[in-house]
Amino acid sequence: MTNKINIDETISWQQITPGGNVCASGNSEDFHTGDWRTIKPVFIADKCNQCLLCAPVCPDMAIPVKDGKRGDFIYEYCKGCGICAKVCPVKAIEMKADN
């Protein structure tokens, strides 16, 4: 099991890794944690002053930062915890029900 393999819900018992062992590094990128959220953060770009307090408090990698500026949420990684909304000093993030 020296190569990184992608494990998703289509993988067979023959292909899955023994005991769920993860025999590679840097693969949290492939782990989408955002599929069981009940509320989601909504980014209001107009209110955002790019202070970047939100990005480091995100427990996953739902807030992309490029060239010193944050972009919109990557919802695949967002569990809906709401820490970013709590920390935002200018109320540029609103938590809304996610249906």
Binding site: I11, W13, P18, G19, A24
Partner: protein
């Protein structure tokens, strides 16, 4: 040349461990397996092995340390008995599902209560569904041979499961008998180096062990684990063949003793098989066609092969040295009945609970089982199928 010695079952296991020279042994003392880590720690102190010996504070810690060290990539083993194995119970499942080929020398002893330190199989039968391979041994020679073979079975790439090598507490663990040991170099060559594909201390290949498994994946992991167990049966036979080359001793999935033309037979595990062979010989001299099947591999359970070996028998007793409190017999009885269920002419089967808590079982006790089987054969009436052997019964009841 092999080495002729006189050793107890515990000494034989400790000696096998010395020859194997594992990377790590983590153990906690419990009667009657205590002597194994005791003798082994002497080898460590004397510099006869390179093993890291970890004297832990409980059996739960012992097996947890084993899990950690085996996952790190170290060949790891331990020994335990009875309540010690029961305390390991939670982690036994972790070891098996993480596919960590740890080896336990399990010295069979009754589980409390009432508290008792003598031999029966309630301890290892209690872990029969934990995913560990179980190999049972009639005497010190088999315990030694099985322990060495177990290592090659568990570490095989198609298996990757832990194993417990079982023998009866005191009866064989402490009784000194003649034994033929294999030369050090041959044992070392036989077991070879442990080279796992993935291990935590491999700096070239980072790895995570034991992640959370959601309902979307757990079933596939269990199915894969079951395949390892299925493969263990085939691998055990391959290893036995290789082992015969260095030892001259033959091993199969089980031992059939005078079974070929038997009309009445018993199925039995561990040391009482020796007593039962004497009973068989005695009755054969009287012209009775009796035989026995001694279990070696209980997990995986070689049901097809056992059914094939027993299907011609007319009447059969499965002998359980443990209770399951199902009110219809013990675990061996259940397996044997299941194995023979699909045979067109299945033997009549009764199930005896015997020798619990170290109760002595004599040749006459086993002979009485064969007499009971002949009674069933003569009358055609099976009667009660869930029986206690040689239990004191109030008169008239």
């Amino acid at each position: 040349m092999s080495i002729r010695e006189r050793l107890s079952g515990n000494e034989a296991i400790a000696f096998a461990m010395k020859q194997i020279n594992p990377d790590v042994v983590a153990a906690f003392p419990i009667t009657p397996s205590t002597e194994i880590p005791q003798y082994f720690s002497q080898y460590v102190a004397d510099g006869q092995v390179d093993t890291e010996f970890v004297p832990v504070e409980s059996e739960h810690s012992a097996i947890s340390a084993c899990v950690g060290s085996q996952a790190a990539g170290a060949r790891t083993m331990t020994a335990t008995s009875s309540c010690g194995l029961a305390l390991m119970h939670e982690i036994l499942y972790i070891a098996a599902s993480n596919r960590l080929p740890i080896t336990i020398a399990a010295i069979n002893r009754a589980l409390s209560g009432p508290i008792n330190i003598n031999a029966d199989h309630s301890d290892t039968m209690g872990s029969r569904d934990s995913g560990w391979i179980q190999i049972y041994s009639e005497n010190n020679q088999e315990a030694y041979d099985n322990f060495i073979q177990a290592l090659k079975i568990v570490e095989h790439k198609d298996v990757q499961l832990p194993a417990m090598v079982c023998q009866d507490g005191f009866i064989t663990s402490h009784a000194v008998e003649n034994i033929e040991l294999i030369e050090d170099a041959k044992v070392k060559e036989f077991v070879g180096e442990y080279n796992p594909e993935c291990y935590l201390l491999n700096e070239k290949q980072p790895m995570s062990v034991g992640p959370y498994d959601t309902p979307s994946y757990y079933l596939e992991h269990k199915r894969q684990q079951a395949e390892g167990m299925k493969n263990a049966k085939i691998v055990a036979l391959e290893v036995a063949k290789e082992f015969e080359k260095i030892s001259g001793r033959k091993y199969g999935l089980f031992e059939a003793y005078k079974l070929e033309d038997a009309e009445a037979a018993i199925v039995i595990i561990n040391s009482t098989a020796g007593t039962a062979k004497d009973a068989v010989d005695k009755m054969r001299n009287e012209g009775k066609k009796v035989g026995l099947l001694k279990i070696r591999l209980f997990r995986p359970f070689p049901a097809e092969e056992i059914a094939e070996a027993l299907k011609h028998v007319k009447v059969l007793a499965a002998m359980d040295k443990t209770e399951s409190f199902s009110s219809q017999g013990g675990p061996l009885g259940a397996e044997i009945k299941a194995a023979l269920y699909h045979e067109e002419k299945s033997p009549k089967i009764v199930n005896y609970i015997y020798g619990l808590g170290g109760r002595d079982v004599k040749v006459e006790d086993i002979s009485s089982v064969y007499e009971d089987l002949y009674e069933i054969l003569a009358t055609g009436v099976t009667g009660e199928t869930y029986r206690y052997l040689s239990v004191r019964n109030q008169e008239g009841k």
